[in-house]
Assembly symmetry: C2
Homo-oligomer: 194 residues x 2
């Protein structure tokens, strides 16, 4: 079995693109850069992908799809709201660690999507935020959470989880589990000692 022929080169291009876009930004990464990372000429990539824009779309929508499907799973469980929010925070951290490059691109470079993909992506994100916000709102109504402004709580959590991409390295002092536990403590019980 020789892997030269079959081995999905399209996926390899997408993976390398995610890494490169994260590093240099969508505009800063050229198709020649990417090709050299893949190990072929720029022109040859067009046998596997339609355009640079398509690469970005595929990365962004794969990520948004993961978040939305996972949110649906969490919504469907019978856990408390505290547990559901913890699960969501955990989801974000885990995806960031396991698929950091793609998640970074979906977080930062989505704005370079062309219409109609741009609008579609924004809608997907808004849908996700709405679902997340609803859980916070219900948690407040159920008396599990403080009566904080829902949007503030939502975006504080979503943002607080993003820095993991900039900070986490596999061989860091903190393991993924410890990291997760610390962030959840910060967000749910706060910095101040009572």
């Amino acid at each position: 079995m020789i892997p030269t022929r079959k081995a999905n080169k399209r996926q390899l291009i997408l993976d390398e693109a995610a890494k490169l876009f994260k590093q240099k930004g969508f505009g800063g990464a050229s198709m020649r850069d990417l090709a050299s990372e893949v190990g072929i000429e720029a022109a040859s990539m067009y046998n596997h992908i339609k355009s640079k824009d398509e690469i970005l779309e595929l990365i962004c929508f794969r990520v948004s799809g993961m978040y939305i499907s996972q949110l649906a799973e969490i919504e469907a469980t019978a856990a408390s709201y505290v547990e559901k929010i913890k699960a969501l925070i955990s989801l974000h951290i885990r995806l960031m660690i396991e698929d950091g490059a793609a998640v970074s691109v979906a977080n930062h470079d989505w704005k370079y999507l062309r219409e109609p993909a741009l609008t579609e992506f924004k809608n997907a994100r808004k849908q996700y935020e709405k679902g997340f916000a609803a859980l916070i709102e219900q948690g407040i109504a159920a008396g599990e959470f403080q009566p904080v402004n829902v949007s503030v709580a939502l975006f504080t959590i979503l943002s607080a989880v993003r820095w993991v991409e900039l900070w986490y390295r596999p061989g860091r002092e903190l393991s993924a589990e410890e990291l997760e536990a610390n962030i959840i403590t910060m967000l749910l019980t706060g910095l101040e000692k009572k």
Copy 2:
């Protein structure tokens, strides 16, 4: 007094550049885009600035300078650590609201700085983070804060404050003061009700 001649066009270019870089990213914004925003031709801008790179440097270092000098002021006060951290969070939110475009650029596009500016900027940021982290560490030692991992606390706070740029609009439901109060509550006492 006619403002046509004197009125600092250099500053106008920098202000418009910050807005445009925030909107399109440094790579995505062309000098012709920027010139059209300023109301002159691209070539004419070179009577006021040296290069596109210089524009980015001026924006980034003005922002980093503001943060560092303000941190020094806060460090010098005699307040409790809780108050100092609150002051820092307040500082971030206020700068984001008052100078959002420039802060955004310094947050996102600093990586397009060319050496030696890039290294210099990274060092400035590291210096700021070190000072911030020291306050958290001392606050824990003084028993004011929970014994959470210092890096986690630091980056959670720094990130949690960034979304204000994406979210805050002058005519929003929440005033700047309410926004600030809500974020501080979230970060210091957490989402969960005790």
